[in-house]
């Protein structure tokens, strides 16, 4: 019972930490806009917790460069499982318009595994909400899979 409740809660209470990994602020303000009255992601239990140790979802915006890739990795390491990584915006997905710039490594997935990609430049708040919902769906599927794995073994 408790396990079921925990699994349900994991989907109902995604706390996010947002890291601006060298974005132009476009995606950042859209991510913040998600929290504001018009989009109000707290409806899904989302809290911008700001601390990787507490968070379940890491929202990354922007291109990865040589300096912030270490920061990104550090934040990723400090999050405890289960965790979701959502890359937001063209830069976060592939480097976008900056992918040829000399100090750009590329997308977020070059440094840490990404669960959901949210396209757009910048991604609209609706798209970011879709991204989080998609991520939670993935988490739900993983839970199912774990269960069937457990039964199988």
């Amino acid at each position: 019972m408790l396990k079921k409740l925990i699994e349900k809660s994991q989907i109902k209470s995604p706390w996010i930490v947002h890291y601006d990994c060298g974005s132009c602020n476009g995606c950042d303000i859209e991510t913040l806009a998600c929290l504001t009255p018009l989009y109000d992601v707290e409806r899904f239990g989302v809290l911008n917790i700001g601390n990787p140790k507490h968070a379940d979802v890491l929202l990354v915006t922007g291109t990865v460069n040589h300096r912030n890739k270490k920061v990104l990795k550090n934040i990723y390491d400090q999050m405890s499982d289960p965790k979701l990584i959502i890359a937001i915006g063209a830069c976060g997905l592939s480097g976008g318009i900056f992918k040829e710039a000399y100090n750009v490594v590329g997308g977020v997935d070059k440094v840490i595994p990404v669960d959901v990609y949210v396209p757009g430049c910048p991604a609209k708040p609706e798209a970011i909400i879709d991204g989080v919902v998609e991520g939670l769906a993935k988490l739900g599927e993983l839970q199912q899979q774990n269960k069937t794995d457990a039964i199988a073994s």
């Binding site: 601390n51 140790k53 270490k70 920061v71 550090n74 934040i75 390491d77 400090q78």
Partner: protein, 637 residues
């Protein structure tokens, strides 16, 4: 039996002191110290059950004894005068001369054969408790001093050991204290009072540095002031009542307003000894002495002499405005010393201020002067002595190990000295947390102080301040590098024994509070209609409230063991470095800062010097306290 025990308790230290001074072998001295310590502890324990007793030993009635005391009195004052002249301190010269004159006039013109000899020894439960504290805590501290002083002198690189003098003084001091709380003659009391003054002066100045010399002189003049007021008080009382018998003074004084002035003077004498504001300076200065000195003289015993004086005379001024003012003075000291402690990062100074603060609380309880509040005072007295001695000893070990008394340098002490860190942390917790004894006392204090607006205001603020300076200290001690690993600690046997004895008694006695109360405190209030507190199933209660000692202890033990079990280093829990805004370095507790420099993270606690700084508060506090003292004398007229 009783008489033998008393003789042992007073003379045995004296003999040991002489032996220590003249026998120069280190082994021999250690053996002597150990034996004396054991004897003292045993006789103090055996004394339990004898009280209350009042008697006059044969010695006391002899004329020789009286002459001996008289001449010893003058010798003492002469010594003080000598030190005053030697160090060119005018105040000391003045005060000692004043005392010589008054004493001379008193002994030779006023009392010459006119009064009956008072009962020599009076030992009620209060005295008994004092004797227990002095003998047990004192002996443990002296034991602790064995390895400590060895280390200390090694550190100072002394050519000729000065330990004989040191241990002699310690024992002399213990003997004098024991005698002081047992005698029933005001003049004898004054005599022993002065001995402690002189001993403290010599002990504080033990290291013979400039600073210790200066501070020891401060201690001497402030305590001489106390001696002088005490003496004047005694003389004034004598002019009215023509007796020097403490018990009969107390019973006669009640309700006589004319005697408030001498009582006020006695209170001031108590204040100086208990280092109450504005007389706190000497206690702070005393911290330059080796730690056993601080522990013995200035936390668990000597300052208690002042408190003892006040508790002893409390019934005499019950219900007067003097009593209320004593309460206000005490509460003010509690508050202001706690506030000053917040601004300190020097561990010994924090201990000193906390001592002053806690004594203030005890004196506030004395001033409230109900049976409940006196109970609170005695309970606080006991537990403060135990916990504070423990903390001082730990502090000494830490200081010798890390070479600093700064709290900030004790960060992560657990990694280096796990045992000491654990002991001092627990010691701190016994100071501030229920269900330990201090909190039981504080609970009683607050419940009884609720009837006095000014006092409760200051107690409320002060107790919050107390929590702050203790908690932050406890917090940083146990922190180490994040794995919580520690290197095993080597500790000499004679450091270990006192530490663990004190720690376990701090905890165990807390558990035994109901029993201590009913067997040691309640009997002193004999002839009461209703006891201040009743006890049922280990719950201390009265009409106003209840403190569930046993149940809380039970819960505390269960929770603590359970929590300890759950927090054992598990393999499953992944350890994670602290959050550093995402730029943590490879070493835990470091980050990659500007210019790609790996910066080690450092932290200091908040000392809020803008609010609680010593230089900011001291003058204000001293002035206010001075005014309070003046009012205290004023209302007595």
């Amino acid at each position: 039996m009783f008489e033998n025990l008393i003789t042992t308790l007073t003379f045995c230290p004296l003999v040991a002191a002489l032996a220590c001074y003249f026998l120069r072998g280190e082994r021999l001295r250690s053996a002597l110290v150990i034996v004396t310590g054991i004897v003292l502890i045993l006789s103090a324990v055996l004394l339990i059950g004898s009280a209350p007793v009042s008697m006059t030993p044969a010695l006391f009635t002899s004329v020789k004894f009286k002459t001996f005391i008289q001449s010893a009195d003058f010798l003492l004052l002469g010594l003080i005068l000598y030190f005053g002249i030697k160090f060119k301190n005018r105040i000391i010269i003045g005060l000692s001369l004043l005392q010589v004159i008054i004493l001379g006039y008193f002994e030779f013109f006023m009392t010459a054969g006119t009064h009956e000899a008072p009962v020599g020894i009076f030992c009620d439960h209060l005295s008994l408790i004092m004797v227990l504290i002095i003998s047990i805590a004192g002996s443990l501290i002296v034991l602790y001093a064995l390895p400590y002083m060895k280390n200390h002198e090694k550190h100072l690189k002394l050519k000729k050991s000065r330990q004989p003098r040191f241990f002699a003084l310690l024992f002399l001091f213990i003997g004098a204290m024991n005698a002081m709380v047992l005698v029933n003659d005001m003049m004898l009391f004054y005599f022993f009072f002065e001995i402690t003054t002189l001993c403290s002066f010599l002990l504080i100045g033990h290291d013979k540095t400039e600073e210790s010399k200066r501070n020891s002189l401060t201690a001497l003049w402030i305590n001489s002031l106390g001696g002088a007021t005490l003496l004047i008080g005694i003389v004034l009382i004598y002019t009215q009542l023509h007796t020097l018998d403490i018990q009969s003074i107390i019973s006669q004084v009640q309700g006589k307003d004319i005697l408030l002035i001498p009582l006020a003077l006695l209170c001031i004498a108590g204040f100086t000894k208990a280092a109450q504001m504005p007389f706190q300076k000497w206690l702070l200065g005393a911290m330059v002495a080796p730690t056993p000195t601080s522990a013995l003289l200035h936390s668990s015993t000597m300052v208690k002499a002042g408190v003892y004086l006040l508790i002893r005379f409390a019934p005499a001024f019950a219900g007067t405005s003097l009593s209320t003012l004593v309460a206000v003075c005490g509460a003010f000291t509690f508050l202001s010393a706690a506030a000053l402690a917040i601004g300190q990062s020097n561990g010994k100074k924090v201990l000193a201020y906390s001592t002053i603060s806690n004594l203030g609380l005890i004196i506030a309880c004395v001033g409230i002067n109900t049976h409940a509040s006196l109970t609170a005072a005695i309970i606080l007295l006991i537990f403060h002595a135990v916990s504070k001695a423990l903390l001082f000893l730990c502090m000494g070990s830490i200081e010798q190990h890390i070479g600093s008394r700064d709290i900030e340098d004790m960060r992560g002490l657990f990694g280096e000295m796990p045992i000491t860190a654990l002991v001092i942390t627990l010691g701190i917790l016994t100071m501030i947390l229920p269900p330990f004894g201090m909190l039981i006392g504080k609970w009683m204090a607050i419940e009884s102080a609720s009837g006095n607006l000014l006092v409760i205001l200051m107690l409320a603020l002060g107790s919050a301040l107390t929590v702050v300076y203790w908690a932050r200290w406890a917090g940083i001690l146990m922190g180490s590098d994040f794995s919580g690993k520690s290197t095993p600690e080597k500790m000499p046997l004679f450091s270990k024994i006192p530490l663990f004895t004190l720690l376990s008694s701090a905890i165990l006695l807390g558990f035994l509070t109901p029993i201590i109360y009913s067997s040691m405190i309640l009997p002193d209030f004999s002839g009461l209609v209703a006891a201040p507190f009743s006890i049922h199933n280990g719950i201390i209660f009265n009409n106003q409230g209840s403190f569930a000692v046993y149940p809380l202890f039970f819960i505390a033990i269960v929770v603590f063991l359970f929590a300890l079990f759950l927090s054992r280093p598990k393999k499953a829990a992944q350890q994670v470095s602290p959050y550093m805004s995402g730029i943590q370095g490879k070493q835990p507790g470091s980050f990659v800062g500007p210019m790609n420099k790996v910066t080690t993270y450092t932290q200091s606690n908040y000392y809020l010097s803008a609010f609680f700084g010593e230089e900011k508060l001291s003058n204000l506090v001293n002035m206010t306290a001075g005014i309070l003292i003046l009012i205290l004398i004023g209302v007595s007229f």
